[in-house]
């Protein structure tokens, strides 16, 4: 089985990289881009039957830093 973990900076945490991307889009002439947030996607190849709770533990322990990041698990 596969799972995908989406990690994003929490709301209220400044994302200077997203902001730089927004500026770049603006300078390319893409009007109306009001905000960009940049995160990461981590794909996991897992033994069949791995529980979502187990993936949650992986996120809490390593994949996300919950001081600054939130995560969302997508089992594929």
């Amino acid at each position: 089985m596969k799972a995908r973990v989406h990690v994003m900076l929490k709301e209220g945490v400044l994302d200077p990289q997203g902001e730089a991307v927004r500026h770049a889009l603006d300078s390319l002439g893409f009007d109306g881009v009001e905000g960009v947030r940049q995160g990461k996607v981590i794909e996991l190849d897992l033994a069949d039957g791995t529980s979502e709770a187990r993936i949650g533990e992986m996120c809490e322990k390593l994949l996300a830093n919950t001081v600054i990041e939130s995560y969302r698990i997508e089992v594929l």
Partner: protein, 222 residues
């Protein structure tokens, strides 16, 4: 007095830190990241600067989960002293030994220069060699040094006098100009600037030397 300096793949200030400890009179061992215990009788553990594990995932995240960091956490929980400059600070926040996190610099650039710092708290073995409010000059060299914590944590750090150093001119967007913080028992210090790079006349500045010198005195008296 014994110090141990941890070495991760990608550490690059481990020798600088060991040299500063030795110059201050510490018997100093280097300890590899795969080791599971610290040498007997270690008083202080140095977590060095650099790019442990290539800064993969997040700066310090992989190092924080390495075998030696379990021994580091046990040392800190026993009341042992820990000093982590730069990547060491990032590792200490990732292990949870210090609160908050280090984000990408607000200006997105890697910054490598000597900056003025204010000694914000004198009550610690690390800072008692400085006068309160003293301005010192210490090099910084980081891409992810933008200190972040939630408002309650920042208020608590300030309320309990746990902000050790502040930037006189904030270079990286750190909240409340925070450059370095102490644990509640004041025995763990994490800071983005590098005192070990200003600890010898040959470095072009010696403002970091007092941190190490007073550490030796304080630990000898402890």
């Amino acid at each position: 007095m014994r110090a141990a300096v941890l070495v991760f793949p990608g550490s690059n200030c481990d020798r600088d830190l060991a040299t500063a400890f030795r110059a201050a009179g510490f018997e100093t061992d280097m300890v590899w990241h795969k080791d599971t215990s610290l040498p007997d009788g270690v008083d202080i553990v140095g977590v060095p600067g650099g790019f442990s594990y290539g800064d993969y995932l997040r700066c310090g995240a992989i190092a924080a989960n390495s075998p030696i960091c379990r021994a580091l956490a046990a040392h800190a929980e026993r009341g042992g002293f820990v000093f982590g400059p730069c990547n060491g600070f990032q590792i200490l926040t990732e292990t949870g030994l210090l609160p908050g996190a280090l984000l990408r610099n607000a200006g997105l650039k890697y910054i490598c220069r000597t900056v003025p710092l204010i000694v914000a708290e004198q009550d610690s073995v690390f800072t008692r060699g400085y006068a309160p409010g003293e301005e010192i000059r210490i090099p910084i060299a980081h891409h992810d040094g933008n200190y972040f914590a939630d408002t309650d944590t920042l208020d608590r750090l300030e309320g309990e006098g746990l902000v050790a150093f502040r930037y006189a001119e904030n270079p990286n967007g750190s909240q409340r100009d925070i450059a370095g913080i102490l644990s509640p028992n004041r025995r763990v210090l994490g800071m983005m600037p590098h005192p070990e790079r200003a600890a010898d006349a040959g470095h072009g500045g010696t403002d970091g030397q007092r941190l190490f010198a007073h550490l030796t005195e304080a630990l000898a008296a402890a």
